[in-house]
């Protein structure tokens, strides 16, 4: 049975490896996008401008309440239509397509950005105000305080939930298989259907995901240990 997963024409090993690469690329891109959106969202939620905070809260509440598959299908089906129609307003009369990879990254980034904004906002709030005041009293400039006192503590508090989000994003990427991106689950479907062995290949896909999760857990524990000495003053 192991020859089913070999390299080359007869085996699906190389396809699964390509799927693994695609899954990782998707997850990293979506995670990065989510972090950017989440940081901006967190800062917006903490802003003194109420309309900005309100808008950020609305965004985060909405995208934490919608199913991921719905957002992804909406973006995949509608993005092409909306982009084409919008560009037509500017006189560009071409069809603009959004591929499954891009749609997946945008969808996952936007959805998880909502969760990230809550995490980062919570981490920023959790650092005691006294840290900032004491550092300023010691003569540090605002930038120095942020960079060397506040930011490390924010990161230390946020590191565990951010690590959990990585695993969540990793598993969420499986949804792109239904819009045609060639990830792990996609190849599991294709191989399983064409060889009439769906259980074998879906099990292989599941085992691959479990391996990714396990490795991520080990790496996360390592990273958290590096941050342990920084968890001073704030509640974990």
């Amino acid at each position: 049975m192991l020859d089913l997963f070999s390299w080359g024409e007869a085996g699906w090993g190389d396809e699964f490896l390509n799927g693994l690469a695609t899954t990782l690329k998707l997850a990293i891109a979506a995670y990065a996008l989510g972090t950017v959106i989440g940081t901006l969202g967190a800062l917006a939620k903490l802003s003194k401008r109420r309309w900005l905070a309100g808008a950020a809260h609305l965004y985060s509440t909405t995208f934490r309440a919608l199913p991921d598959i719905l957002v992804m299908l909406f973006i995949y089906f509608s993005a092409s239509l909306i982009l084409t129609a919008t560009l037509k307003q500017f006189g560009i009369d071409r069809f603009v397509g959004v591929g499954p990879f891009a749609a997946g990254v945008v969808a996952l980034g936007v959805i998880n950005g909502a969760y990230f904004s809550e995490i980062i906002r919570g981490a920023i709030i959790a650092v005691p105000r006294g840290q900032f005041d004491a550092a300023r009293a010691l003569g540090l400039s605002r930038w120095h305080v942020l960079r060397f006192v506040i930011l490390p503590q924010v990161l230390a508090i946020a590191v565990t939930p951010m690590g959990n989000m990585w695993v969540i994003v990793l598993k969420d990427t499986a949804l792109v298989s239904v819009i045609g991106a060639h990830d792990i689950l996609y190849w599991g479907s294709v191989a399983g259907t064409s060889l009439r062995k769906p259980f074998t290949f879906y099990l292989a896909a599941v085992i691959l995901y479990l391996a990714l999760t396990a490795v991520s857990g080990v790496v996360q524990a390592r990273i958290e240990r590096r941050f342990d000495r920084l968890r001073i003053g704030a509640v974990k």
């Binding site: 309440a65 919608l66 199913p67 598959i69 719905l70 909406f74 909306i82 689950l185 399983g192 995901y209």
Partner: protein, 228 residues
Amino acid sequence: MIDPELALSILPDLLRGAVTTLWLVAIGVVAGLSLALPIALARNARFRLVRSCAYAYIFFFRGSPLLAQVFLLYYGAGQFEWLRQSALWTILREPYWCAIIALSMNTAGYTAEILRGAFLNVPGGLLEAAKALGLSRLKAFWLVKLPLAARLSLHAYGNEVIFLTKSTAVMSLITVIDLMGAANLIYRRTYNPVTPLLTAAAIYLVLIYLLILIFRFIERRLNAHLAA
């Protein structure tokens, strides 16, 4: 693209799908809780074999995507001739039943972890007091440990139920006609993706908001003794 008339006309179909979604959630909650309790207890059991099995179960269902799990069950079951001949086939060939099984086992994995954490966080003094009062191990569990753990896990479990509700949408991909499935059908019929998906999204927002209100109410009632 956004067609209010269409939105109104498809509302009955979508609401029928929403009923299926609610059934999936309800059965998922009940079955998930029933499975999660023994698994959470097994996580702290005396025998290493029992502990390992519980850990393996939780690792399997939390470490892989729900979509992969349900594909494995629904499409994978058909690979085995002996399974197709057996009595189980009447259940396993139905998408609705596979959805329920996959959802329940998946949420049981997450819920078991929540319960395990809650069990560990029950104040030891209260358990000692129960022992001092002469309550048997079983009575102390049912009357003291479990209710306290339930109250501690309420917030995290509320989040888990919301995740469960969102996860039911994935079942549309194995042809279950829930809210998401109904919206998909309408898209394929009308070639207009925006209106059905947006309308379904609105309904999901309403459902989840109702769930949040319910859990907030329960939390306030059960934690009334903590209120200022």
